[in-house]
Amino acid sequence: MNYFLHIIIMINIYVILTVSSNLLIGMTNLLSLGQAAFYGIGAYIAVLCLMILHLPLIPTILLVMIVTALFSLLLALPSLRLKGDYFVLATLGFQLIVFTVLYNWVSLTRGPYGVSGIPAPKLFGFIEISGVLPFLILSSILALFTIWIFYKLINSPFGRVLKGVREDEISVLSIGRSVTNYKIMVFVISSAFIGIAGFLYASYVTYIDPTSFTLDESIFILSALLIGGLGNIKGPVVGSIFVIVLPELLRFVGMPNSIAANMRQIIYGLALLLLMRYRPQGIAGVYKVK
């Protein structure tokens, strides 16, 4: 039973990751390889809040969102003026740098040794959230909250301008909307929520190290999003379920753990190749990657 609950918690975390990334990649066509960097920043800031500042649950979440958003501004401001290829490159560089810092600045992050014994977040300062069932509730609430927020954003005049930016930036400029400002807003909002996923991961697993936040992880999140589909809420949710459940199925079929991780990535890589070729809107998305 705990096993199934654990799966759902992981799905919730990835729903938050993919629904947020969709705003960037699916609504505004900004391909980014830096999601894992913000995921990691969120996780480590959560550690700071829980272990050093001893903040209760809600201030922790807020602080994680704010700090992750600030970091994303640091990346967004210089790189959003760049055209497609160069923007991806800048996010790649950012991802590599964040990993380098997390891995090598041992005095700050304990580097490759990781941080263990992350304490349970306390709601209102005294209700401890630890163990599978409480985290199932917490992660589901946060996931549903994320879905609600992004659903409203996508289906608002704001979302309409984003669709315009995705379709034709010149046209958007010609009706007096600043494309760059919208890209910055999208980047900051999606990064803030990716930070929440980082908080959930850190406080649930109670141990983090930099190897969970590599470029590989960015590509994994991207795969989940693209396989599920872009442009709506259903796509990212379907994609998250797909990428979390499939490896478990593989395990049932008897694939040894040691090769499972690599096989998983290979399967997703192949799925992506086929999708890009034959079905760019993914399983359940509405936007065909153009």
Binding site: L153, S156, P157, R160, K163, G164, E167, S178
Partner: protein, 277 residues
């Protein structure tokens, strides 16, 4: 300004580099001035046509006014209300916000969005376009969306008549419209915002005669709306005669003839160089 000038272009120069093959058969870069010390005054409230051969630099001039392209030297002064603004070095979206609208040669509407979305996105009321307002003030947001849709309906009726196809097709993708209808949609979109001057780049190119007439009718209506100034690039002389009070002929990067449409089109140099007559 009192003499009714809305746009004053002074000594504008823009050069491009192009790759050519020289006499020795080698590849070389040649610098040439697509716009060469151009002077032009656009009078408020009139429809002015800009004519000239292909590659004469007309679209580049529009791109410089909209600041998609930077000029090398010169100035463009924009007189609006009590203010004067130099357009050079402003970002394109600011140019449009100051009241300068644009229709592009290659249309640039959102093909994969619906007709309604195409119109609503161009509304000059931007409520709800900042991310969190739509979350917190959803009642007001819904009201304003309703107003926008009514505004769109009104524009369609005014431009195209009571039972127009645009209102019927309002939830269809713009891609499903014919090319002529897309062009009309691009024009209709301009009416969602309050502009002071609009730049129309070959509005009738590639459309059938029936739509050309519709487009002419729309353009003729424009100055009646708060004295909207129109500057239009056209290759179709019938349209120019039909619609434009004033005409400028551009060649070799300069304006070489200015006057009423009849005069300019009748000018022997213009006829020889451009019309080939």
């Amino acid at each position: 300004m009192d003499n009714g000038v809305i746009l004053k272009i002074d000594d504008l120069t823009k050069s491009f580099t192009r790759n050519i093959v020289n006499v020795r058969g080698e590849a070389e870069n040649e610098r040439f001035n697509i716009i060469d010390k151009l002077d032009l005054e656009i009078v408020k409230g009139k429809i002015t046509a800009l004519i000239g051969g292909n590659g004469a630099g007309k679209t580049t001039l529009f791109n410089i006014i909209s600041q998609f392209v930077n000029a090398d030297s010169g100035n463009i002064e924009y007189y609006h209300g009590d203010e004067t603004t130099s357009l050079l070095k402003l970002q394109p979206d600011k140019i449009y916000r100051k009241g300068i609208g644009r229709l592009f040669q290659d249309n640039h509407i959102f093909l994969d969005m619906t007709v309604t979305e195409n119109m609503l996105i161009a509304d000059d009321n931007r409520f709800g376009e900042k991310p969190f307002l739509s979350l917190f003030k959803s009642k007001k947001n819904n009201e304003i969306e309703k107003n926008r849709i009514e505004k769109m309906e009104g524009i369609f009726i005014k431009l195209f008549g009571e039972n127009n196809e645009f209102w019927e097709k309002r939830n269809d993708l713009a891609r499903s419209l014919s090319y002529g209808q897309q062009r009309l949609l691009g024009l209709a979109r301009i009416f969602m915002s309050k502009y002071k001057i609009v730049l129309l780049d070959e509005p009738t190119a590639g459309v059938n005669p029936k739509i050309i007439n519709k487009i002419c009718a729309i353009i003729r209506k424009m100055p009646q709306k708060d004295g909207l100034t129109v500057l239009l690039i056209e290759h179709n002389m019938k349209v120019v005669e039909n619609v434009a009070d004033w005409c400028c002929f551009m060649s070799d990067g300069k304006i070489t003839a200015v006057g009423s449409s009849k005069d300019v089109i009748g000018n022997p140099d213009v006829r020889k160089t451009y019309l080939g007559i």
